[in-house]
């Protein structure tokens, strides 16, 4: 449905060092504040890591051509997802909405007409993310879109470590010997989309494609993945990327 072209792969072996470096060089106060809030040590057991599940709805899949229309987030730990602390914003995209994307995420022109620009909510968004490990399903949307949008508004981008529930699912279903054998047999790969992944853990079905619903769905999925395939003691560095 949308053209995908190869993009620069963002990996960061030493996230702690990178964050410290950015904190020193940052000009924008909100960004400076974000990078100087310390993240948990890579050795921290996952059970002790404060996390925040983040989801964005966008007008397409390419951050250079498309824009963010809504952002939902829910702070959580391995123990509890705290809905009382949830946040949700609709923002005015810098590029026009097309009808296809309206059909997809149901955010309409009139809602967007009254919405603020991302810049107005950015300080608040960054404050919510600071010090928490961000959890997404498919980091190649949230990471480049947020980076590009912040860079366009504040002159410098934001990159930070994430836990990607989709890549955890891929590790289990796409990279094992069994998965390669299936591929060799010509079987279609196991779906690792959010809602099919959830059903493998007997999580209930939700109405998809709303940033807040998907953020909650992602947080629940991570809890289920850790409960099933990892342990509460598993160090953060084994899971983030």
């Amino acid at each position: 449905m949308f053209g995908i072209r190869p993009r620069q792969k963002i990996t960061q072996a030493d996230w702690i060092g990178y964050m410290a470096q950015r904190a020193q060089r940052a000009n924008n106060p909100a960004i400076q504040q974000f990078f100087s809030t310390p993240l948990p040590d890579p050795e921290t057991p996952i059970a002790e890591v404060p996390m925040v599940s983040l989801d964005m709805e966008t007008t397409g899949l390419d951050e250079r051509r498309h824009a963010i229309v809504s952002i939902g987030l829910v702070p959580f730990t391995l123990n509890r997802i705290k809905l009382a602390e949830r946040r949700y914003w609709v923002v005015k995209p810098s590029r026009p909405l097309d009808e296809a994307s309206i059909a997809y995420h149901h955010i309409t022109h009139s809602e967007i007409a009254q919405a603020p620009d991302l810049d107005e909510i950015l300080d608040e968004l960054l404050a919510q993310l600071a010090g928490r490990l961000v959890v997404v399903h498919f980091r190649n949307i949230e990471r480049p879109f947020l980076n590009a949008a912040v860079k366009a508004r504040r002159g410098e981008g934001v990159l930070f470590p994430m836990i990607d529930t989709m890549s955890l699912e891929a590790r289990l279903h796409r990279q094992t010997l069994w998965a390669r054998f299936r591929r060799w047999l010509g079987r279609p790969p196991v779906s690792i989309r959010l809602h099919t992944s959830r059903s493998r853990y007997n999580l209930p079905g939700y109405q998809g494609h709303h940033a807040l619903v998907d953020a909650l769905a992602t947080a629940e999925l991570l809890q289920a993945q850790i409960a099933t395939h990892y342990r509460p003691e598993t160090p953060l560095k084994d899971i983030w990327c």
């Binding site: 509890r80 997802i81 809905l83 853990y201 999580l203 209930p204 807040l212």
Partner: protein
């Protein structure tokens, strides 16, 4: 509001006790919920953990245990747990474990307390056992006031009404079209405030009379009036009416007193229908009273057997009118006793007067006045001590046979355990009966008492009442002093245990096994009756009815304070559930039985039933402890 998108409110709103909450309260919950996932087999709450939230199952299944590890309950989607701890000291008393992959919503204590304060039904629901049973029982009691049937219940059609200027011909055509036997005549404006009312356009009308089929004959045709005569000219000015909330009985009296067959029924000066004498007769035919008098008018066993279907109709009517299980039980027992008595009268007419005096004794549910619509016969003959088997037994066997066969034909099937007067063993003189009872109480073993416990519910049905009273006195005197007997009875009373509750569409057993249906008599009412009988025997009560026995027990120190009321509520609820399900069986043209299927049990009934089972189960545990086998008491 964004939280609506998460569908938490919609989900909770489908399940009790949340289904009765206001939207505001549901929003308040959804706003504050915390979520957590539990893998199959993982522990959710451990004993003595501190608990600060109410747990709600969004998906999956959870088992809750007692502190000793015994299964307490199995819960599914929409169920809650943890409320007992929140209402007490916030320490987990009943540990919980996920038995399927489970997603839980945690409702913070502050929200929980707010719900308890602001919503009475929610508070009732989460309070343990007693209040819920009490409320359920009281609601049933309240609806009994409806037993006095209002005349409006008999109305099926709206009255045919015409203006006074209408011609008699047009009026007759309207009556034929509506298949009515009477019409009401109205005129605009009005001088009589008793019958004046305003229609939707604000016009005032007054009912000025009624014209019946027979009026057409006597007032119009016989008088030779032309078809164009306005109805206003022929209508009788004498107008006898009844208010819609008057009882059927009052309506009948009014008709008799005024010698009319039609009564306009009035609600706030406005006619709402016309009731005819035949409506009342049709209605009364189904009443228990009419049935009993009809039983005594039958001159043959075949005639009695034909009344069997009336018994069902009268049962259905009683339940629909809101009778409680005590009323239904005693009405059905009265009907059963009437059949028995009439059969005995017919038998005596056929066989001649009895050679020696006798008493026809009934046992089991009929003796307790707790008969249900599904029942067999349990009876016996107590003969005078002048009885001589060679001379007299042929007569009494023949008598017993007529009654027993007759009852079977009327729907009271033969007793599978052969507790019937046709059995020689149960057709004996009073002295032998005394010996039976003395022997059962002096030399009891659980095995011997298994088949004789039914005789400890005993009442006279016909003949020499004092024979049965002698036996009742003997039991009340001896039983309290016979610990071995009580212990043996108690042992037997524990043979049938209640299930734990319901899980999805299954009945769940104490050991966690799941069944598709439950026999509510075998697993609920009968064990309760057994249990109460033992306490009643222990305190020397001569009552036979379970609720009366509980009243007697309540006056002693046998049970903890308030326990007999609690048992009473639980018993009433179990009986009523059985009665309701039997009524559904009859209405859906199935043979009524004692089974209920979980899918036919409403959510609220399900929770109350579970509470009732719990009360019964706890009472059974106490029974074991209260009436120990003497061997155990010596500590061997």
């Amino acid at each position: 509001m964004d939280v609506e998108l998460l569908e938490i409110r919609q989900h909770m709103g489908r399940f009790p006790p949340f289904d009765g909450l206001s939207d505001d309260l549901l929003d308040a919950i959804a706003e504050q919920v915390e979520v957590s996932y539990y893998k199959t087999g993982s522990n959710i709450l451990a004993l003595n953990d501190t608990l600060n939230d109410l747990c709600y199952i969004r998906s999956g299944a959870v088992e809750v245990y007692r502190s000793q590890g015994e299964l307490y309950n199995r819960l599914g989607e929409g169920d809650i747990f943890g409320h007992f701890s929140l209402l007490r000291n916030h320490k987990v008393r009943l540990p919980a474990k996920a038995i399927e992959d489970t997603l839980l919503y945690f409702i913070p204590n502050a929200v929980f307390q707010r719900l308890c304060e602001e919503d009475e039904n929610f508070a009732d629901f989460v309070e343990l056992e007693r209040p819920r049973l009490e409320t359920a029982a009281e609601q049933q009691k309240k609806s009994n006031d409806m037993m006095v049937t209002r005349i409006r219940k008999l109305l099926t059609l709206y009255p045919v009404m015409v203006e006074a200027t209408t011609s008699v011909q047009q009026a007759a055509q309207q009556m034929s079209k509506a298949q009515a036997s009477a019409l009401l005549v109205l005129k605009e404006g009005g001088d009589n405030p008793r019958f004046s009312f305003k229609d939707r356009e604000g016009k005032t009308w007054q009912m000025c009379g009624i014209l019946t089929d027979s009026d057409f004959r006597t007032r119009i045709v016989a008088e030779g009036l032309p078809p164009q005569t306005p109805v206003g000219d022929v209508v009788s000015s004498r107008l006898i009416t009844i208010q819609s909330d008057a009882s059927v009985y009052e309506a009948m009296l009014t008709m008799l007193r005024s010698n009319v067959h039609h009564l306009p029924v009035i609600y706030r000066q406005r006619p709402v229908g016309v009731v005819h004498l035949s409506d009342i007769i049709r209605y009364e035919t189904h009443s228990g009273l009419y049935l009993v008098s009809n039983i005594f008018n039958q001159s043959s066993a075949q005639g009695l057997a034909r009344l069997a279907s009336d018994v069902r109709a009268s049962f259905v009517r009683m339940v629909q009118e809101g009778a409680n299980s005590q009323m239904v039980g005693s009405a059905l027992s009265t009907i059963g006793r009437s059949f028995t008595r009439r059969l005995l009268e017919l038998a005596e007419a056929e066989l001649g007067p009895p050679p020696v005096p006798y008493c026809f004794m009934v046992n089991g549910s009929m003796a307790r006045n707790e008969q249900s619509i599904v029942t067999d016969q349990d009876n016996a003959l107590i003969l005078s001590d002048d009885f001589n088997p060679e001379q007299h037994d042929d007569y009494f066997y023949a008598l017993a046979k007529i009654v027993s066969d007759g009852l079977d034909a009327c729907g009271y099937t033969y007793c599978k355990g052969d507790v019937m007067a046709t059995n020689t063993q149960w057709r004996q003189p009073l002295s032998v009966w005394k010996r039976y009872f003395q022997d059962w109480m002096a030399n009891p073993t659980p095995e011997r008492l298994l088949h004789s416990s039914i005789f400890f519910d005993l009442d006279s049905c016909y003949g020499e009442d004092h024979f049965v009273e002698t036996l009742q006195d003997l039991i009340a005197h001896t039983a309290p002093k016979s610990p071995l007997f009580l212990a043996a009875m108690a042992r037997n009373a524990l043979n049938r245990t209640p299930p734990l509750g319901f899980f999805r569409t299954f009945v769940m057993e104490q050991d966690g096994k799941q069944n598709n249906s439950i026999n509510l008599k075998r697993r609920g009412t009968a064990p309760m009756v057994d249990l109460v009988r033992i306490h009643a025997l222990a305190c020397g009560s001569k009552a036979q009815n379970t609720v009366q026995r509980l009243n007697d027990i309540g006056k002693t120190q046998l049970l903890a304070n308030g326990m007999s009321e609690k048992l009473s509520y639980a018993f009433e609820f179990l009986c009523m559930s059985r009665v309701r399900h039997q009524m559904i069986d009859i209405q859906e043209d199935r043979l009524p039985d004692n089974n209920i299927e979980p899918e036919n049990v409403a959510d609220s009934e399900r929770h109350t039933l579970k509470d009732a089972f719990q009360v019964l189960s706890n009472a059974q545990k106490f029974l074991k402890f209260r009436y120990p086998m003497p061997a155990q008491r010596q500590g061997r």
